[in-house]
Subunit: 252 residues, 2 copies
C-alpha cells in the first residue's frame, strides 16, 4: 500500500507507513527491534512526539509491540494454519487422531483446561440445535495453549439428552473424541458449517488468551450436522487472531 | 460470559459486563442509546471516571460507539453473510439456522471504484502465482459499498501475460466477470483456497473503509486454480469486520 500513500498524510503516518513497508518487505523480521524514537527523530527531523506516534501506529495495528525499557519490536507472528475442511475429514477423526495435530508441524497444541457442565442453552445455541429454551446442553469449555501461550477458547454445546451417560460428559472423551462418541450414538457428523467473524476481545477474553493490546479475536461458530441433517453440536471458538491463519480449500 | 465473571474485577469492568449482557440479551438494540455517565453514576454509585471507563470498554470492543454530544449508542451491526463456498459452488446446501443473524436481503453490494493497472507482482503474490520476481501482473483494485458504507477492498492479481488483450485488463470485465473471461482462455477456476486472518487496520485501510475506532479488519487471500492446478488469480480482500460474517459449509 505504501506506493498509494499521499503527501497530505500527517508526518507520523508517513513514517509509520515506511516502517510497515520495511516489516512487510522483511527488512525487520519477527522479534527484531524497530528504530527507536531517537533514531526516527534524527532520520526524519521530527519531534519526539511524532516519532512516538509513528511507533504507536504499528503497535495499534498489532505489527509491533513495546517491551518495557527495551524498545519496540516486530511481533513474532508464527501463525497456526488451521485447515477448516481437510482437518475435519472423516478419515482423520475415525482414526482417533486429534483434529489439531496435522495443523502445527512439530509444535504441540495442548488443552490446559477442560470444564464440563450441564446448563441451559444460550438462546442462539438453542435455536441452532433446535432445542426449546429451557432445554439443557452439555457444555465443554476448553482452553488450548501453543508454546506456552493460550491461543484458543472453545465452548462446545451438545444436547444434554443426546449425550447423557457418554464420555462426552466427562473431561476425557476417549479415542477420537466427541465426534467418535457421536458416531457411536448414530449421530456422527457428516456436514459442518463454520461461521467466522472478528472483533476486539472482551476483558475476560483478553485475559484468558493473554492478548497484547491491539490484537483482535477471530470467532468461529462451528455447527456439526448428522446424516439426517440434525444439528448435533455447536462449537463457539475464540481465537487469538495473531496466532491463526484459517484455510478453506474447496472446489468451484 | 457474564455468568463467569468474578467479584475481583474492577468496578468499571463489572458495569461493562452488565451492559454487554444487556446488549446481547437484546435489551438495547442496534442504534439504541446506552445509559449515560450520569445514569451509571446514579445507578451504581460510582465516580464519573468509572462510568466513563465502563462505556469505554464497550466502545473498545466495537459493541458501542460514541456520537459527539449525543451519547454512546449500540453499534448497528447488520452484517453481510458471505458464503465462501456456496457462493462459488454449483450446488447449494440445504437451508439451516445460523448462529449469527445476518441481513443481506435486498441490500445491494455496489462497486464504487475500479482501478486496473499493470505492475510488478508483490513478492508473496508472485510466489503463489509461480511468477518470477520481475514478472508483471494485472492488478484490479475495487472498493465495494453497502448502503453507502464501504465494506470491502479487493485487489485481484492475475499474470499479465495470461490476461493481456482480454476484458480483464479493462474496468468492465463483461458478463460473468473475470472468471468467465478466464474460462474463455481455457483457465477457468475449478478450485479455490481462501486464507483468513484478522488484525487492526492500517491508517489508509481505516480511511478507505471509514472504520470506527476499535473495529478490526478481516483479511481474505483467495487463490483460484485452473484444471491443471495452476494458480491463475490471487485476490487479496480487506473487509470491515463489523460488516461481515463469513460462512463455509462443507462435508465431513
Amino acid at each position: 500500500m505504501s506506493g498509494r500513500e499521499t503527501g497530505r498524510q500527517p508526518k507520523y503516518q508517513r513514517i509509520a507507513a515506511e516502517l510497515r513497508a520495511a516489516v512487510e518487505a522483511g527488512r525487520y523480521g519477527p522479534g527484531d527491534r524497530l528504530p527507536g524514537e531517537n533514531d526516527l527523530m534524527a532520520e526524519h527531523g521530527v519531534a519526539r512526539m511524532t516519532a512516538r506516534q509513528a511507533l504507536g501506529v504499528l503497535q495499534a495495528e498489532g505489527i509491533a509491540e513495546a517491551r518495557k525499557g527495551a524498545g519496540v519490536f516486530v511481533r513474532d507472528f508464527r501463525p497456526i494454519r488451521r485447515r477448516g475442511i481437510e482437518r475435519l475429514a472423516r478419515a482423520r477423526w475415525a482414526e482417533g487422531r486429534s483434529i489439531w495435530s496435522t495443523d502445527i508441524g512439530d509444535r504441540e497444541l495442548v488443552v490446559d483446561s477442560v470444564e464440563v457442565t450441564e446448563e441451559s442453552a444460550p438462546a442462539a445455541v438453542a435455536a441452532v440445535l433446535g432445542l426449546g429454551e429451557d432445554t439443557n446442553v452439555c457444555a465443554r469449555r476448553r482452553r488450548f495453549v501453543l508454546d506456552g501461550k493460550p491461543v484458543l477458547l472453545s465452548t462446545s454445546y451438545l444436547p444434554a439428552g443426546l449425550v447423557a451417560g457418554t464420555a462426552i460428559t466427562r473431561p476425557e472423551t476417549g479415542p477420537g473424541g466427541t465426534y467418535a462418541r457421536l458416531a457411536e450414538l448414530g449421530h456422527g457428523p457428516v456436514r459442518f458449517r463454520e461461521e467466522v467473524r472478528s472483533r476486539m476481545p472482551g476483558v475476560e477474553e483478553a485475559e484468558r488468551l493473554a492478548l497484547s493490546a491491539g490484537v483482535p479475536v477471530v470467532l468461529i461458530a462451528r455447527t456439526a450436522f448428522d446424516a439426517e441433517g440434525r444439528a448435533v453440536e455447536v462449537n463457539e471458538m475464540v481465537l487469538d487472531s495473531s496466532a491463526y491463519v484459517l484455510e478453506y480449500d474447496f472446489e468451484a
